[in-house]
Amino acid sequence: MENTINYGIDLGTTNSAIAKFVKGEIVIFSNPQDYGRNTLPSVVSFKKDKITVGNKAKEYLEKDPKSVVGIFKRKMGTSERFKIKSINASKTPIELSAQVIKELKTFVNTGDDLDAVVITIPASFDTIQSNATKEAGFQAGFNQVVLLQEPIAASLAYANMKKETEMQEGQWLVYDLGGGTFDVALINIKDGEMKVLDHEGDNFLGGADFDNMIVEKFLIPKICKEYKFSNLEDDMKSASGKFNAKYYVLLRRAEEAKITLSAKTSAEIVIDGFEDEDGNEVDMEIIITRSEFNELVRPNIDGTIKMIKKILTRNSLKPIDLQFTLMVGGSTYIPYVRSRVEEILQIPANCEIDPTTAVAIGAAYYAATKPKKIGKSSAKTKTSISIKTAYNKASKEKDELFSARITGETEGLSYRITRQDGGFDSGIKKLAERISEDLPLVDGAFNFFSLVVYDNENNIIETDIEPIGINSGFGISGQPIPEDICLEVDDYDNPGKTRLILMFQKNSVLPLRKQFTVPLNRGLIKDNEEDYIVINVLEGTHLALPEANKGIGFLKITGKQVSRTIAKGSDIEITLSMTESRDLTIAAYLNMSDQEFKQTFNPKVRHTPIEFLKEQVEDLSDKLDVEIQEATDNEDFETAGALTKLKKEMETVSQATVSLTNDDVTDKRYQLEDKKRKIAQEIDSATKDKRIQAVKTTYIEIKEECEKMLDENGNDHERKTFNDIVAQESAFFATNSPLKIQEKSDEIYSIVGKIRWRTPEFLTNLFQWCKKNQTKMNDQTQAKSLVDAGNFAIESQNWERLSEINSGLLNLLPKGAEKEATTRIGFGL
């Protein structure tokens, strides 16, 4: 157990925070319900069955004041009670503050027993107010509460940041301008003792007022100048006003602009989405400059400086008697606040500490020096309860009903359910024997919820509940696909040939959708039917030959169908989607003509265009001949024999296909397609070993080359990429997939390519080759100047420059000089 208190709480009028001293450093706990923000709005909301503290309560503060309470700190130590309509009861400021402290306890994730704490109070608090704050701490479950004045806490944060364990004797100001309140205190240190000598404040001044000013004094006049409104300000500010919702939009935008102005000299505010009295759509962008903003807030800032001057006069001091002004509170981020205070007082404004958390940090430093009282041990309720839950573990609904049955004593206990992504918080509710809650689900994801039980001081009670997991993903009731779904593309490694790429993997659960964009490798001349692009979707393993798989969707776009000529290199966007009943939709969008071609294929109907079948059969026949020849040449008589047996069958299919007319309506085409597929599968299996051997050889060669280049010229990143690939070697070899091994070779080849482009020898050779082809280049003047620059780069051994020059020269080569690949599909990947 720790001997010192270590925990510090800034119990602020508008925002609170909790921090802990851990081995010389301060940890500020973030709000688990508010996306990692370090602060908690000091607002409490009551509903019949639950209490909410913080941001969610704050949202309702203005509109539901009978059930939501804020700014109760000002009433600490008074007999005032806040009537809460929703629970038909009243709450004291102490009880409300205790709720805030209890909520802060839920931020702590260290597992510590929270029994002692330092809580900060304003310099203006008298004994009764101070005791009331202590009482709030006790009500929240602390056994020991030590108070500390806020300006002293801020000063301690500063002193510790500066590593000055003891500040020099002297005095300074703490200027605290927050979201809704302003305080200034004169601090003095004498004989090692820090004291607040005097203070002033304004309970109704802060950052929120500045946002209001931007809207009222800057934006509304500008909107009214441009558009016709007779009473825009009232229509916006009145709760029943026509533009009340717009007022809050403007406030949000004004706040964003204010934050931007802390870093930039101007900010844009977009005003749109409503009509003026003449029916004109309001759409304007208003620029607010930092100096315009400064002018708006100047009277308020000058007002705070007047308060400082009052303090100085009362204490017979001149600004020069002060060491500095320590700036605290979120609004001191505004550069003008800092500069104006500095300008008028002529002493440095010190902005070195984080103004939003300084008080909590100072409290934690102070807590580290205060010993924990020994004796009164935490009288924590040791409750043992068991929770039995009931809910659907998979759901496609927007909400899922969760219910639980509790065994054990539930009196005085409460619970809270939160979603792991931070999107849902039930609030703290009373625990009963049976509880139920509608849990909202995020679509297409696994939703985790946690149910936490607290005692009446918000200490966590251990229970036996497991995390609540509800799958709202697609894979709940959809059926898996029995085979891979692939797309036929041009094979750039084997010009004139095609290959398959995987679109949806076998066993993926329907529905499925995939979209990708690729450049076309051929153009489509408008009205020319000879030009076409083919999208051929097949079912069957993606590692097979295209001819071996079953066609399930086929879309052909010809020059006849396009609204303008489509250039080679322009993009085609292909979308494949398959419904739960396995209807396949192919959509192809041509960027250049802004045209979409779409067709849905029903799994019950086969799609075998005869023309395409003929082409495939012819190709397969050629392929078989080549394979037989190759196997014979390599004296692989076993393979050659197997393939020759297929030859006869192939010939029969070829003849039958040739004799089919393009408008044949019989089932013959399907029979032939099946036969063709079987032959292709057999060719595939007979030649697979050969292909695997070939890609393995290529892999080993490129690997050796890469290793050598890495030794000579590789960097750490390239080495890591290489080692990662090699580490998986046995795994991808074991797949026995030529494509997979090829893919890895390509990855290594790309490392080789990168290194080459840095080596002088390669760059020089490439430059010499470009020089030889200089006469062919498109722009002779530019080519000459690049060649001159290249010669100079070689002379001066500026290889980086030579690399740029080479790229420039290659770009000057005529497109016709590039190798024209024969393509069949129209695109490749």
Binding site: P32, Q33, D34, Y35, G36, S45, T52, N55, K56, A57, E59, Y60, E62, K63, D64, N109, G111, A239, S240, N244, A245, Y247, Y248, V249, L251, R252, R253, G273, T418, R419, Q420, D421, G422, G423, F424, D425, S426, G427, P440, V442, G444, A445, F446, F448, S450, V452, I460, E462, T463, D464, I465, E466, P467, N471, G473, Q515, T517, E573, Y589, D594
Partner: protein
């Protein structure tokens, strides 16, 4: 039990700003009467962010316009307009909910990287 640990991956603000801008364009484009060619580009950008932008992770956004609102919705930061506080719905979305999606133990996890900023009003 202890509370489920929250993911600590923080998406850089610049990415969130980018997504917010795409959302703005998306909102504006939906008001333009044309054959959805702008929408196509937006969908394309959304697709890139969702699938190809990061390794094994993606960013998606959700526009909660028209959805019901209550204080349990911590995926939105709301400002209530009008006089009523019950039976609320989202009438304006200034920023969308941004999800950071990734796969863990074969489960798709979506974490909220940015709660929506919305205006809510009582349902009419």
């Amino acid at each position: 039990m202890r509370e489920t640990k929250k993911a600590t991956v923080k998406v850089p603000q610049a990415f969130l700003d980018l997504v917010n801008q795409i959302f703005e364009i998306d909102k504006k484009a939906s008001n333009i009467k044309e054959e959805n060619s702008i929408q196509r580009n937006i969908n394309k950008v959304r697709g890139l962010l969702e699938v190809d932008f990061f390794k094994d992770a993606g960013l998606t956004y959700h526009n909660p316009i028209g959805e019901s609102y209550s204080e349990t919705r911590t995926d939105c930061e709301a400002t209530i307009a009008g006089t009523e506080v019950d039976n609320l719905e989202i009438t304006e979305v200034i920023k969308p909910i941004i999800f950071h999606t990734y796969t863990e133990n074969e489960n798709t996890i979506k974490n909220i990287s940015q709660p929506a900023v919305v205006i809510v009003q009582a349902k009419k």
